[in-house]
């Protein structure tokens, strides 16, 4: 073999080894058992789920944005919660997944279901629920204790530990259905092929993410006022068929949203409307320079019937967009 062929062979070996290591990384990835960013336990959510929102609490809490703004971002009730239940959400929670059911318009309203994974002091938390009063009752449902809030009333809510690390709460029917699915070893969400297809398109590892079909977006406005439209003129917004949002907080706030419309023309229209709104924001730059910066931090592009919105917002810019505290004003005036 000539020395040139050895060079080509060496290069092929590097690429092959790299590909094998990459395949190994997929195989050993903690997200392998899941679909996209959805943890494996999330697949027990109801089949008629219309949208799913996820938050990686660990990433969120460890982010620079949260650590530097912990005083303002941490709810005051966390201290009381820890005292009563032993649960410190910052320390003990790993992931929160919120699933939404069919919309009111569909006539089959199913309130949301929240799946929380983390480390719980089950005894202390159970005692806190049982002694909280407020019409709390509990029962055994297929071997799992279900705590009900307002049992018998319409829209009664419930909570249950699916295991030591997973807590579910939502409507009583939904919680009981989730317990039944878990006991039966079923994964109802897998049968929702539309939502599964959307979830598979989301990259695992984001701090927060959301996927939803058109029913999630049915309550959004169908039109926006046209620029200079004092006579009531408005721009018709193209209907969005589904939406995928992912985001990270470090080292800057990065949000990627993909909206799918009926066709290419609708996607272009929607992109134009969004670009117009960004341009309006940029025009406000004289009064508020941070708005101009924000507008330039967002980019809009189209891909056939999809509209991609990409925002990269530095923490400093995010801080400058926060409303100034009322207490600061008198001091400044003085």
């Amino acid at each position: 073999m000539t020395r040139s062929r050895w060079v080509v062979l060496g290069s092929a070996v590097v690429v092959t080894v790299g590909a094998l290591v990459a395949m190994g990384a997929i195989y050993l990835s903690p997200a392998r058992a899941a679909v996209g960013p959805m943890p494996a336990e999330g697949l027990i959510l109801p089949a008629d789920t219309r949208f799913v929102v996820g938050l990686d609490v660990r990433r969120f809490v460890q982010s620079e944005l949260y650590t530097t703004n912990r005083r303002t971002m941490r709810p005051e009730s966390f201290g009381e919660l820890e005292e009563k239940t032993g649960l410190d959400p910052e320390r003990d929670l790993d992931q929160v997944v919120i699933a939404g059911g069919p919309s009111v318009a569909s006539g089959r309203r199913q309130p949301g279901l929240v799946l929380v994974s983390g480390r719980f002091d089950r005894y202390k938390l159970s005692r806190a629920i049982e002694t909280s009063g407020k019409g709390v009752t509990w029962k055994d449902h297929q071997g799992t204790t279900v705590y009900m809030f307002g049992e018998g009333r319409k829209g009664a809510e419930a909570a249950a530990f699916l295991d030591d690390d997973t807590l579910v709460f939502g409507s009583q029917a939904a919680v009981e259905g989730t317990i039944a699915s878990r006991v039966g070893g079923k994964a109802p969400l897998r049968t929702n092929s539309a939502l599964m297809a959307l979830l598979e398109r989301v990259k695992p590892g984001s701090t927060f993410w959301m996927v939803g079909d058109q029913s999630l977006l049915s309550n959004l406005p169908q039109s926006v006022p046209a620029p200079g439209g004092s006579d009531g003129a408005s721009l018709q917004l193209p209907a969005v068929q589904n939406l995928i949002v992912t985001g990270d907080l470090d080292p800057q706030i990065a949000v990627e949203a993909t909206a799918e419309t009926a066709d290419e023309v609708a996607a272009k229209n929607l992109a134009d409307v969004l670009r117009g709104l960004l341009a309006l924001g940029a025009l406000q730059g004289n009064q508020k320079p941070e708005l101009k910066e924000l507008a330039s931090a967002v980019s809009v592009s189209t891909e056939v019937n999809q509209v991609h919105v990409n925002a990269r917002i530095p923490h400093a810019l995010f801080q400058s967009l926060q409303p100034k505290k009322a207490a600061e004003s008198p001091a400044v005036a003085r």
């Binding site: 020395r3 040139s4 990459a22 990259k203 592009s301 056939v304 530095p314």
Partner: protein, 267 residues
């Protein structure tokens, strides 16, 4: 006894020309220069890993940097590599007045060009793909291995797009090399001037190669100027169809012109 007047079978002829051309391409100053150029992503990866993260601007993440590197790789470095190798396939032989010796061998002209093009592709792929793979691992493992799995599909896609870019630009610049005596300047103009059309609105980007290649990538680094205003992503199926058709067209034309053209060597 062997009949020397009978041309060698096409496959064997291609293999012979491939070996000869590969030896000349891999061990050359051009390859050294290209290795340095195409190895830049690895340099950036090593720099990123060696510079303390605290000293870097907070806006730069390893994943972002990898996305930017791949985009620049496809837009500038890969076309340049294809330009330097593919335009030289025939033009160098003409310039060095060695084409006559090649054409007097009992080898079909189509086999000569095919063998040389295959060697060009093998050389450029050997230089670019390992650099891309190494840069990927250097950058994506900066924060540990937990999130590498999620980025692996991007790596495979990027490798495919780099290969396709080398094929498409290589075929185009081979055609330039066959048609023109000095193809380097038109090639540079194509890469650095004409390809800017990809940032314009409407149907004009469809007359560039970079618009199709860029659309196949998943990385969307924040853009500025025209590309930010008119950024459009073409459907993947259309991109693959057009690029395949263009490669076939450019290579077919190159082979046809090279097979029928009379080359007169200057004295």
């Amino acid at each position: 006894m062997k009949d020397a007047s009978k041309p060698l079978p096409f496959g064997r002829a291609v293999g012979g020309v491939f070996d000869l051309a590969l030896e000349g391409m891999v061990w050359s100053r051009r390859s050294l220069m290209m290795a340095l150029l195409l190895g830049l992503p690895v340099v950036f990866g090593v720099l990123y890993r060696s510079v303390p993260v605290a000293k870097l601007p907070t806006q730069v993440t390893a994943a972002d940097l990898y996305g930017v590197i791949v985009t620049v790789y496809i837009r500038f470095l890969v076309p340049l590599a294809a330009l330097f190798y593919a335009t030289a396939l025939i033009a160098d032989e003409v310039e060095g007045k060695t084409l006559t010796y090649l054409l007097t061998r009992p080898v079909q002209r189509a086999a000569i060009l095919t063998g040389k093009f295959a060697a060009c592709l093998a050389t450029t792929l050997s230089l670019s793909l390992p650099a891309l793979v190494l840069a990927f691992f250097l950058l994506t493992t900066a924060q540990g291995w937990a999130t590498v799995g999620a980025s692996v599909p991007d790596l495979f896609r990027d490798m495919g797009v780099v290969a396709l870019a080398l094929l498409a630009y290589g075929a185009l610049f081979t055609l330039l090399g066959v048609v023109l005596k000095r193809p380097m300047i038109p090639g540079l103009l194509f890469v650095f001037v004409w390809e800017l059309v990809a940032n314009l609105p409407g149907y004009l980007p469809r007359f560039t190669l970079t618009a199709y290649l860029r659309s196949l990538l998943h990385h969307r680094p924040p853009a500025e100027g025209l590309s930010e205003m008119f950024g459009q992503v073409l459907p993947a199926a259309l991109c693959l169809e057009v690029l395949t058709a263009l490669v076939a067209l450019f290579l077919g034309l190159s082979v046809w012109i090279f097979s029928t053209r009379e080359y007169v060597m200057e004295q």
